[in-house]
Amino acid sequence: MTTPFAIRAATPALWLLPPAAITLVLLGLLPAVADGAVFRVAAAWVPSLGINLSFKLDGLSLTFALLIGGIGTLVTAYSAKYMAKHADRARFFVLLLAFMFSMLGLVLADNLVVLFVFWELTTITSYLLIGFDHADAKARRSALQAILLTGIGGLALLAGIILIGTAAGTYELSEIRAQGDVIRTHALYVPILLLVLLGAFTKSAQVPFHFWLPNAMAAPTPISAYLHSATMVKAGIYLLARMHPTLAGTDLWIWTLTIFGAVTAVVASLLALRQTDLKLMLAYTTVMALGTLTMFLGAEATVAIAAAVTFLIVHSFYKAALFLLIGNIDHGTGTRDVRRLRGLRQAMPITAATTALAAFSMAGFPPFLGFIGKELKYEGALAIASEPLFVAAAVVTANALMVAVAGILVIKPFFGPAGTLPKTPHEAPVQQWICPAILAALGLLFGLAPGLIGQSLVQPAVTAILGRPETVKLALWHGINVPLALSILTLAAGALVYFFYGRLRAGLATLEARQPLTADEIWDRLLAGLRWAAAQQTSVLQNGRLRTYLLTVFATVALALAATFIARGVENDLSWPRLHLAEWGAAALIVAGAVITAITHSRLTAICALGVVGVGTALVFLMFGAPDVAITQLLIETLVVVLVAAVMLRLPELPAARLRPVRLAVSAALGTVFAIALAGSVRGPQDSAITDYYEAKSLTEAFGQNIVNVILVDFRALDTFGEIAVVAIAAIGAYALMRTRSAARP
């Protein structure tokens, strides 16, 4: 509250520093990468497992990294104003930066395991970002849904990565991409592909996993702009592109990606049209973009991949800009409902103009970059050898709907007579319109001068995806050809859809209402089912009665051992052992103690008799040369008697002992199988390699003569550390339990 003005003014700039610096460094490397250079750094991490901290910068990584860094810089600058009055803005920026670094790590990793680590980090940081307003139940639900769904995909991806490692013999991506033919013909190819695709499809919200992305709009608008334009959801696309040289080219790859991508693109653009919340509308158009990208990555043709890369860049620019602009509208008017917003062009002229710029790129009007992207998409669709018509039809449909959505975004909120709004509309401050304006202007600049990104970004990325040198040339004018005709068709169809927008949305809403279950509801039912199953098995297996637990455990052990003996056979020498008198004495002590424990009426007698069993065991240890174990055993017995006595003395007398056949049978069976197991295990020759090793090394390497102690504190110190950690945690747990109990008592 009394922070000096200088610090308050400097803090946003400080947050801006890392992304800006990263973007500048990446821009500096751009010319070299455009010339075909590949930068790689590596350090050993777990060399024995082939896991190295290796990072590589090639055309594909650079394209993604520049989008992450560049849009990250603009979003941070925007948020400095947007979040300025938020109490938790420090948390916001820390999470935003953490997410940014996770994403950068993901796209730069050259080792699959490292890639996976960063993949999971993006899942975790995005969970925290989506649930940023954690007081809001809806935000919490959305965050949980996102982390569960992408987490499931992440586990599938991990399994896929391990299988790739098995098939290729390495986790290094640079080495794996040279082995595409080995993996494509490998027996594990189908499981690998399905697992990797499951990871990519959940992350990139393909149908039927599309529902988490619109729900994730619960996050503050700058986060939506960042996560759902340039980064998080594109991670799945990045994975598909990265694995393209290794996995692509088979029928399974082509058909899966094409069909899932096409269905996602069309379904999502219909759902976008149905929304009334501008932010949700944009969220669904993002899903549409992801579907389109997936569809084109299914292809092999150079122009199809070039279309995917170009569209990736186009989409990041206009989508981030539009999200930020909707943030301005929301801030300025207090609503995002398309039915209420109108006539804002006088109150918010700059936002209106910028929205128009971005939306033109989205709709694919010349001379915007969006136009080039769309032309390339049509050219790419027609170049796909297997099913050009199907892809082209899907792309034209989705794009026509995009044109309509772009029209809605520009015309509905800004034109027409002014409506009544929760707040008097006002223009956003300069920091909040300059960032989207830069993005929208870039969409225009790169459209006018496509050479700026054609050779420097798109071509190296396409080369990296296809794994062969490619030449790509972007141009605004391709001549009069089929793509141009399709472009005109798209614009006409889009205009038509816009004209009938009201009726279409009503129709879609009716359709949605008739649908028995949405994907979101199915997800809820799945979760509810899981909880029900967990509750059922808990009430059976963990009913809270210690006696039942013990009986279950002992019966299971007895059965398992008996089954093993019967199946495998067991050699036994059950001849009468020859023991010393003292050894017989110890044995008799143990047996007597056990019998008395079982039949006595007095709890004190039972505790003491149990102590006798322990002491007898300690004697056995002592006789067979394990004094440390014997001392420990003796001390533990003493303590147990002291501790248990304190409790037991306050309990009522034991009920009269009576025969319980089930318990008797279980204990008899357990005793018998253990006797057989022990007799069998001491019969054969013992492998003394480990003992010999410790005996030889104990004094020379660990300077100790007591081997037991040397093992505990030196050779296996990590194990001991784990054990004392358990001891400490158990103590603290018991302490907490007892305190809760005494606090609950009146």
Binding site: P627, N706, V727, A728, R739
Partner: protein, 139 residues
């Protein structure tokens, strides 16, 4: 429990057992003993004292709160393990120094292993006393 005999004996026993526990801890590397056993002996001594003179008296004797002792021990053990790092060895590798006494012998051995064992001692002592006090005070 109000027993004069036990009360008097427990004071003697406590002193003896604490001393003995340190003895067991220090000799553990070459003869039966060590941090685990030492910790148990010390805890038994305090437990007997707690039974004879009450938990409040026993708490005064050990001065620190048992859960804190346990966690401190855990921290010392972890520190001993991590100390191998700066010497370029994998974690939990014992580091040894021999302080020269000038009499021609190999010197007084000091090691991270000893620190680790002291950590085990404190952890066991703290944990067992946490149990003991929880039972004695709440039941």
């Amino acid at each position: 429990m109000n027993s004069l005999l036990l009360s008097v004996a427990s004071r003697l026993l406590l002193a003896l057992m604490l001393l003995f526990s340190v003895f067991m801890l220090l000799r553990g590397h070459n003869a039966p003993g060590g941090g685990f056993i030492g910790g148990l002996i010390a805890a038994t001594g305090v437990a007997v004292y707690a039974i004879a003179d009450g938990c409040a008296a026993a708490r005064r004797v050990i001065y620190f709160d048992p859960p804190n002792i346990a966690v401190t021990g855990l921290g010392l053990a972890l520190l001993a393990g991590l100390l191998a790092g700066p010497f370029g060895d994998p974690w939990f590798t014992g580091q040894w120094w021999f302080i020269n006494t000038g009499d021609g012998g190999k010197g007084i051995p000091l090691s991270t292993v000893l620190l680790f064992d002291i950590g085990v001692y404190l952890c066991v002592l703290g944990a067992v006393l946490t149990f003991v006090f929880a039972f004695e005070e709440n039941v």
